[in-house]
Symmetry: C2
Subunit: 449 residues, 2 copies
Amino acid sequence: MSLITPRTPPGTMELLPRQQVAFQRMLDTIRRGYERFGFVPVETPVFETVDTLLTKSGGETEKQVYFVQSTGAIQQGNKPELALRFDLTVPLARYVAEHERDLAFPFRRYQIQRVYRGERAQRGRFREFYQCDIDVIGKDSLSAHYDAEIPAVIHHVFTELNFGGFTINVNNRKILLGLLDGLGVADADTRVLVLREIDKLDKIGQDKVRASLLGLGVTEHAADTILSLIAMKGTNAETLAALGALDIETDLFREGVGELTTVIEGLKAFQVPEGTVRINLAIARGLDYYTGTVYETFLNDHPGIGSVCSGGRYENLASHYTKSKLPGVGISIGATRLFYQLMEAGIIKDATPTAQVLVTQMDPALSADYFRMASELRAAGINTEIQLDGGKIAKQMKYADRAGIPVVLLMGSDEQARGTATLKHLVKGEQVEVPLTELAARARALLEG
Amino acid sequence: MSLITPRTPPGTMELLPRQQVAFQRMLDTIRRGYERFGFVPVETPVFETVDTLLTKSGGETEKQVYFVQSTGAIQQGNKPELALRFDLTVPLARYVAEHERDLAFPFRRYQIQRVYRGERAQRGRFREFYQCDIDVIGKDSLSAHYDAEIPAVIHHVFTELNFGGFTINVNNRKILLGLLDGLGVADADTRVLVLREIDKLDKIGQDKVRASLLGLGVTEHAADTILSLIAMKGTNAETLAALGALDIETDLFREGVGELTTVIEGLKAFQVPEGTVRINLAIARGLDYYTGTVYETFLNDHPGIGSVCSGGRYENLASHYTKSKLPGVGISIGATRLFYQLMEAGIIKDATPTAQVLVTQMDPALSADYFRMASELRAAGINTEIQLDGGKIAKQMKYADRAGIPVVLLMGSDEQARGTATLKHLVKGEQVEVPLTELAARARALLEG
């Protein structure tokens, strides 16, 4: 029989076991953080019907969609009826519209699942990746206080993740749009282009942005006003004061400033330190979806990774599926890319495996004792593997070392006669002979010490 | 704009939040059990290349496969290159072959992910469902003691799941095949048909099985010998004794009896009570894949659900992808079907949601106090939601009730003046006024009491 070369499909992140343990711990930390703030879990199927998924005008989105078809459907030449989700927002909209009567509003859900995009295969670009989303959905209305809660949750989660310093950038799109109104930039196409230039500020610098704005027909006064705002580097209080002092009186602008003020004040109530949330008026984000507050989060020591957690406020979640008005605010951690980049940077290392203790079989005659000890350790909550193949002790030790199991239990007939066993910590190089009556406690002490 | 009716794709299990919490707890219990025995996690991509997935001769499997294609590939009329996995065994084989040099053997992995089959849509039949697999893979060889460990893990997991009594049925296919050798049933096609009849015993009864066997050309003596064995209802020791006393001397039969004896003895060493594991010689299972020990698990009070956890020993995991010989033994819990059936039967009920306490806003002037209390409860490890929309207290209470949040915290200006708050347990109907200095401890007592 000729062999097939085994290969992971391109554009996916497949991990070795100890990397997988590290990844799982990261997802667990995110989940625990989301639950700490009372978000409830939702899971949706990996595919949606094509009708549901492709409500938008096609174009960019549709090009990246993976369609799903059974053999029978392909043979019959049918058009695909199913497609893999490309984010968790469309499934959420469908879910909320479908189950509306069974949900309590404001509906606070978290969802940690994989999404799929037919990206060109490229190092660090993924076709399959985890998103870890939270959203709060109101019925008819939703207070701007929730716009403050979202970064408070992210602050909690990233503190727990312990990847070093991070900054949650906050803005409100009403401020930018209201400013353009006030400055007389009224043409819709021009506004889109102006916002796109603003978003480039951090990459291309003030001079180039200014030149582009003038090229778009924006007056010098307007361009300078915009730049003075978006390039501002003050404290949040200073930025809010500067916004208040501006000679812009459009309702939209004032609304945006009001909401941003609510967010910044709310964050104090949530006890989020000022330094981790920063008003950044240059953040515009995706154009049509977000309507108010927007977020982008950066790791201070790894700006090159880009935003690791983004989101914002939207006017109406599910207008394609229901007449109910469902405003919401949410954010998403791109866990696969974040993990991959931090692993590449050496920040995330292989975790210790799930097994904490390996019970070896030094003397086959003592087999019953080994089993009893393994059960005892498990009953005490210690993850324990028992070597069942037996064989040379050196081979058993080598296995423990290769698998990364930190502690090995050894007992020969001498020790058995004394009522003891030896616990050896392979990483620390420590070895202790302990009474069998204290086995679990001493193993735990060695693991934790 | 015309609305699209929101609908979950047929053949998938989508849960409401409190059902999802219950499901998640079930998966967590399974995972914790697997980890307790030192299994390491693996996740593979939802799709594999078609080459990898469809190594088998097509036929039944291929008919149920979902193919995955991007828009571009469909437009170009290409054949699909990717397909959704239909089990976790093929991806495991590919994974082990691909990462062989980086793994420690025996390789003990667990994998909890969804798989996909293009089943005809039907109530209780799923196109997308979770499998929770464990496998131990040896290099070149793997001791039969591991065949005893697998049911020990399942015993631990099902005890923790607490769905009532369960029975793990164990058999060894070598016994059946060796018996057929010894009884002169040598024709390969006939053997396949005989095993298929044997598997029907519990459904159609002895008389019909006997008639079928005779119809297949099996002698009366052979049919009676087979039936006397497979219908045996003794203790494990009695069954093993009866097997030992049989006048069958083929190597395969003796090997099978030897391995079964090892499993039954091993289970004693693992302290698994005799009653939960039972030799059942009528279990034949899938024909080509399993080569030795086989398992099927039934819930004693819900036999109608069928086997909830099945598996067995195989000779060589990854012969399609590598020349290495990789014998293994494994088992799989079909979590989606199990959960769905137990929910339908009323055994699994809605869980309490993730939020344990709702902090209400009785008096907007005390907002800062509410935020501080919510943070305090969270810091103490209590999942806490704070009502940010405010509004009438009756509406806030109604929300807590609808969402199923068990405890509500209320504080008006009177209480604030006294330095207290009121905790109300909505399910128990209990209400206590507690000093703010003891808030977290008293909330925990109320939740746990």
